[in-house]
């Protein structure tokens, strides 16, 4: 089944952070310890209480300063590498929901070391709670299964956040991209064939965030490929120890 997807149109984002707060509110995530690093981005990074973070990046276009906003969250990869990483340590640590495509961690994820899981994620998303449980955006599966849109989408006042069937989101994304191409030749969709959270940006994605696209950063691709290779061996090793 094609499942669901998000389309995040960064050109419409005004950085109101409504989505960030709505996410916290719906998931009953408490406050995070934060510090002022001289940026409006607050908290400075995703954490176990922040599944969604509006990232602020200052850049320069034609000699003028511009701000880029990037509402960062788990991309719900079509083939989630984090799932392989967790499965290497524990069964049932991740649910890949068939109907929607949501990738959701269970409490068993605490059996897997956060460093490995975080490294496996091409977008640097997973974080660990104090008790070891690994957490991240759940696609608001509890809402979606009840026919409601995710909390972050519901609250977005500018339609930067959109959610629906994968087909309808891809269509919306392509249409918006075509509309923006003339004015912004660098406009592009980020990894649309690999993820369920499709971002539209109008400049070099690294100017928005170091992990905006999977192919950037230091050797993530290679690391992923290696992990894929090693996964069967790891699983086998576990089976042997258990046997």
């Amino acid at each position: 089944m094609a499942g669901m997807s998000f389309f995040i149109d960064t050109t419409r984002c005004t950085a109101c952070r409504g989505c960030q707060i709505a996410c916290k509110n719906w998931n009953q995530n408490g406050a995070s310890m934060t510090k002022n690093l001289g940026s409006h981005q607050n908290p400075p990074d995703l954490d176990a209480n922040t599944f969604k973070l509006v990232r602020f990046s200052e850049s320069e276009v034609n000699g003028k300063p511009v701000w880029y906003f990037f509402a960062d969250q788990c991309r719900h990869c079509l083939e989630p590498p984090c799932m392989d990483a967790i499965a290497g340590y524990v069964d049932g640590g991740v649910i890949h929901d068939e109907e929607t495509g949501a990738v959701v961690y269970t409490d068993k994820s605490k059996e897997a070391p956060i460093d490995d899981v975080r490294e496996a994620c091409p977008y640097d998303i997973p974080r660990a709670r104090e008790d070891g449980r690994i957490v991240k955006c759940t696609m608001c599966l509890d809402r979606v299964k009840n026919g409601l849109i995710p909390a972050c989408v519901k609250v977005c006042p500018t339609q930067a956040m959109n959610f629906g069937t994968r087909e309808s989101m891809l269509e919306l994304a392509q249409k918006r991209l075509a509309d923006l191409k003339a004015k912004y030749p660098k406009a592009q969709l980020l990894n649309p064939q690999e993820v369920r959270v499709i971002y539209l940006v109008v400049d070099d994605p690294t100017k928005y965030h170091s992990h905006a696209v999977a192919s950037l950063g230091s050797g993530i691709d290679r690391k992923l490929a290696l992990r894929r290779l090693f996964k069967p061996a790891k699983t086998m090793a576990r089976a042997l120890t258990l046997g």
Binding site: G147, I149, K154, G164
Partner: protein, 301 residues
């Protein structure tokens, strides 16, 4: 190939099955009734009184509904087809519904020349003309009305859609009752940028309501309009009016992933009625097109 309406309806029922298990006994029955209505509707053949565009516009502008309930034409074949489907769908142990179905079948079989009159009798609202043909002894009246009106619904909706299409209004309908038949809403939805839309309890017509407006007494003062809301059930609320003490159930469609299927929501929000009534709010006397009388329409005697 399912029609769009049928896809939407089936999706809504499937979702309700998992998210509102309390109503599990209803779903098989309702799904089959809705499916029959949807399939029959495009085949309805209706002889609609001609009403020219000017006349429609004049009534619209004057705030008068376009038709009275008993002027809606009925496609007998369509009504009969739905009756058969409803009868097949009735759960085995439901004596009220099966009694209602057989009472109608019996009346139709015993009075073949009065078939039109029997069906049309159910278009009335404040007297019981069907008793002329129907043996109602031991028949549950609400079930009878529900079955009969379910059978008429495809004809009624088709007529309302046709009338509304020709009304082609440029300005909003301002009253709290339905622009087509004068009935009150069964449900209200919140859409888009927060527009409020009423859904007619009789002909299914949707129309815009003001953000602050009681459909019954037209009270528009925000200080005397309020709503009840349960945190466990996001997306639903009960709008009430402190002037006339009536309430309406409201669904926030902006939170919804899939389109609403209003006839299903009428059933799966029954617990909200209990909540509202426990708090002392009341449903308007329904059906209640009180507006006919002020309009100089002749009320049948």
């Amino acid at each position: 190939m399912l029609s769009d309406a049928e896809t939407i309806m089936r999706k809504a029922v499937a979702l309700a099955r998992s998210s509102k298990p309390a109503y599990h006994e209803l779903y098989d029955f309702l799904e089959r009734v809705f499916a029959a209505q949807i399939q029959v509707k495009p085949r309805c053949r209706l002889s609609l009184n001609p009403m020219d565009g000017e006349a429609i516009k004049a009534r619209w502008t004057a705030g008068l509904p376009l038709m009275r309930r008993w002027d809606f034409p009925v496609d007998l074949k369509a009504a009969h087809e739905v009756l058969e489907a409803v009868t097949r769908a009735v759960p085995e142990h439901n004596r009220e519904l099966s009694g209602a179905c057989s009472a109608i079948f019996k009346a139709l079989a015993q009075n073949p020349s009065a078939k039109d009159a029997i069906w049309e009798s159910f278009l009335h609202h404040d007297w019981n003309p069907w008793e002329e043909w129907l043996d109602t002894a031991g028949v549950d009246l609400p079930s009878l009305l529900y079955v009969a009106r379910s059978c008429l619904r495809p004809s009624i909706e088709r007529t309302a859609e046709e009338r509304l299409q020709r009304a082609c209004p440029d300005d909003h309908w301002k009253a709290g009752f339905c622009p087509v038949c004068g009935s009150l809403p069964s449900l209200i939805s919140l859409e888009g940028e927060g527009q409020r839309r009423a859904h007619c309890s009789w002909c299914g017509t949707p129309w815009r309501l003001a953000r602050f407006q009681c459909p019954v007494c037209d009270n528009r003062r925000h200080a005397s309009l309020g709503y009840l809301y349960a945190e466990q059930e996001p997306g639903y609320r009960i709008d009430y009016c402190m002037e006339c003490r009536h309430y309406f159930k409201t669904i926030d469609a902006r939170e919804r992933l899939w389109p609403l299927w209003i006839p299903l929501e009428e059933w799966t929000t029954l617990h909200l009625d209990l909540v509202a009534q426990r708090e002392g709010w009341k449903t308007p006397p329904s059906p209640a097109p009180a507006v006919y009388e002020t309009d100089g329409f002749a009320v049948p005697s």
